[in-house]
Symmetry: none
DNA sequence: TATGAATGAGGGTTCATTCAT
DNA sequence: CATGAATGAACCCTCATTCAT
């Protein structure tokens, strides 16, 4: 039932999905749903909280176990990716209705969790810079902001099938670590324009 | 008035914003809105169509004028970035209520425009590969998918002010072209797992 | 201006026509209409009252001047027909929105006028029966009810052009006076069924 | 509930009746109506389509079973009259709000049905002329136009009760077949004006 | 548990009318 | 006289939720 609701939420958005549609999908009447759930909100809560808790566990686990900042980030991406693929509905809900959830008291734990996640990224990026693993001119917060949205995408890839999760994750890591420029293109591109040089310093 | 509505749409989402809220913000009654607009939909249309047309113009202009695939992409990012910052509301609307707009007849031009944009990216990435500018193992469609979502983010940066547009754009280009790894970190990262190696080769 | 409004009222119905449509047709804005009229109701009133007064004059004139009941009825039909053709809009309004006008205080004169008209018909039909001009078994009130609605129809004949007013009036008189059966059919039809015989006696 | 709505529609007109009035009459709130119906339109549709289908069946049945044109017309009038008296609300709706229904896509079947009905009348009148049953100078289309409006009236007779259906039907048939003039009155009426003579010959 | 009728607040929208300019 | 922005009440309809059966 939660799964059913989650699929509808993912397809049409949380707010755009009516309890009647959920009940229809379950083969019962809308009123009967309330023998199983207190409210539509509580269904959403069940889906989102179990998801976000797993993600947080992934992040905390990566930080606790991995050796270097780079390893932490790799592990975060890999383990989170597995979690995301198991919670496609939750992810789609967050993406489609974030403006709603982020302002509802009941879902206050979501912005909180995202803040913790951001902090982990920034910390690791900074550590990596200090260790000489990442470019010294990297702006940690900026980089996180640029990357985090990409990180939440893979679960929607069902639409663009033809890629395995491994391919998506691998491609992502390759791009963010090594960039898309070939060795030849990389040197040829220098010296960079002044604006870019300033911006990334 | 359109600006007012756009700001509300951006803040709370298009569907979640009521015409009464727009009217309140404008200091008039809800019925009075219809002296200025045919419908809520037409307000959204005005905001979104003017935005998407400018973006399309940016893309087409970049393709027409630039010399190499790398230059095209750079120009796309730079000019679009300016457009995005002038249409923050439109962008937020697309991100928050895409599941709605993408299914409404009146907004059918949106998916259409996105398809054109995708095609331009893929074409340029492929051309860059053939010219030896981009890594030969780059998967154009995958790369586009990964990047496009990042590309649409900067306009939300109002929330996280402290960065200039130049900084954001520069940072993005630096990452996608050169990656975040330093030359030292780049070699140190190997050997990778077999799955990743396959996916990125 | 009244004419313009009348045409719209006739086409789309009084209630279905908005003051904005009238203003559009007049080439001004809706607010400006109120420099010419107190209200939409007063436009309707002007159209309907002038019409109904002319009709009443026709009826009263026919009663005053004609010799026999048959002549009265013929004159009513003929003169009214001329009046109707000059007030097509008013007639269409009555037909389309009678349920509205008949309950509005401002238009209370309409049901009143119709009652006078009915009384004239019934009186003449009864007089004709007593004089041996009309069938003795004629039910005056029933006959009036059957005929009056037909009487109000011709003005809509613009739609079904191809007939002159004379043709319509002539056809109507021929039918109600002589029926549609030919002399042969008339005798062949007798004896009538018992139900019919009873009903018309 | 449909019956309730139908009565209100008949009394005040379809458009002039609000869903709140229907709900009030049913002793519930307006929103609760939508537990039973999709829309106000669908209530109207249910009332009108069941009516018009029965009428069409009457007409087709009369054509299929009756022997002569006169018998067909008699049967049409008799059977339709029964149908009309069972669908008073539908008839009143058509009369009051025809200008609305005739232009709404959902009710496109109404003009279509009326066209079929007209065709049946015209065909029968023409056949009757050829068979010598009806006057040779009868204009079929004109006659139909004159009669059809009368035909649709009886159902409103609730207002003017005191007549049985049989009386109304019998009276109507007597008039249209034999006219209202007595044999004496028929000859006395001549000579007619030239225009009328031309029109009815 | 399930039903299904009912709630009630709120959604977008219409429209005759007013009035300062 | 005309404008056009604004009114305000009413419109049809939606939907999460309740509750007697």
């Amino acid at each position: 039932m939660v799964v059913l609701a989650g699929e509808l939420f993912a397809q049409k958005g949380y707010r755009a999905t009516t309890v009647r549609e959920i009940a229809d999908a379950a083969g019962i009447l809308s009123g009967s749903l309330y023998h199983h759930f207190d409210s539509k909100e509580s269904i959403g809560d069940e889906i989102l909280s179990s998801f976000i808790n797993e993600v947080l566990a992934d992040y905390r686990g990566a930080v606790a176990s991995a050796s270097s900042p780079r390893a932490v980030i790799e592990q975060i991406v890999r383990s989170t990716s597995r979690t995301l693929s198991q919670h496609r509905a939750a992810l789609a809900m967050l993406q489609n209705d974030w403006s709603y959830f982020s302002t509802q008291p009941r879902f206050a734990y979501l912005p909180k969790a995202l803040r913790e996640i951001e902090q982990i990224w920034i910390t690791q990026l900074e550590l990596g810079k200090q260790a000489g693993l990442f470019r010294a001119d990297l702006d940690a917060k900026l980089t996180y902001r640029l990357l985090c949205d990409v990180l939440w995408i893979p679960a929607q890839w069902r639409r663009t099938s033809g890629y395995t999760t491994d391919q998506v994750v691998g491609g992502f890591l390759r791009i963010v670590f090594d960039g898309i420029a070939s060795p030849a293109g990389r040197t040829a591109a220098r010296p960079r324009t002044r604006a870019t040089a300033r911006a990334t310093r």
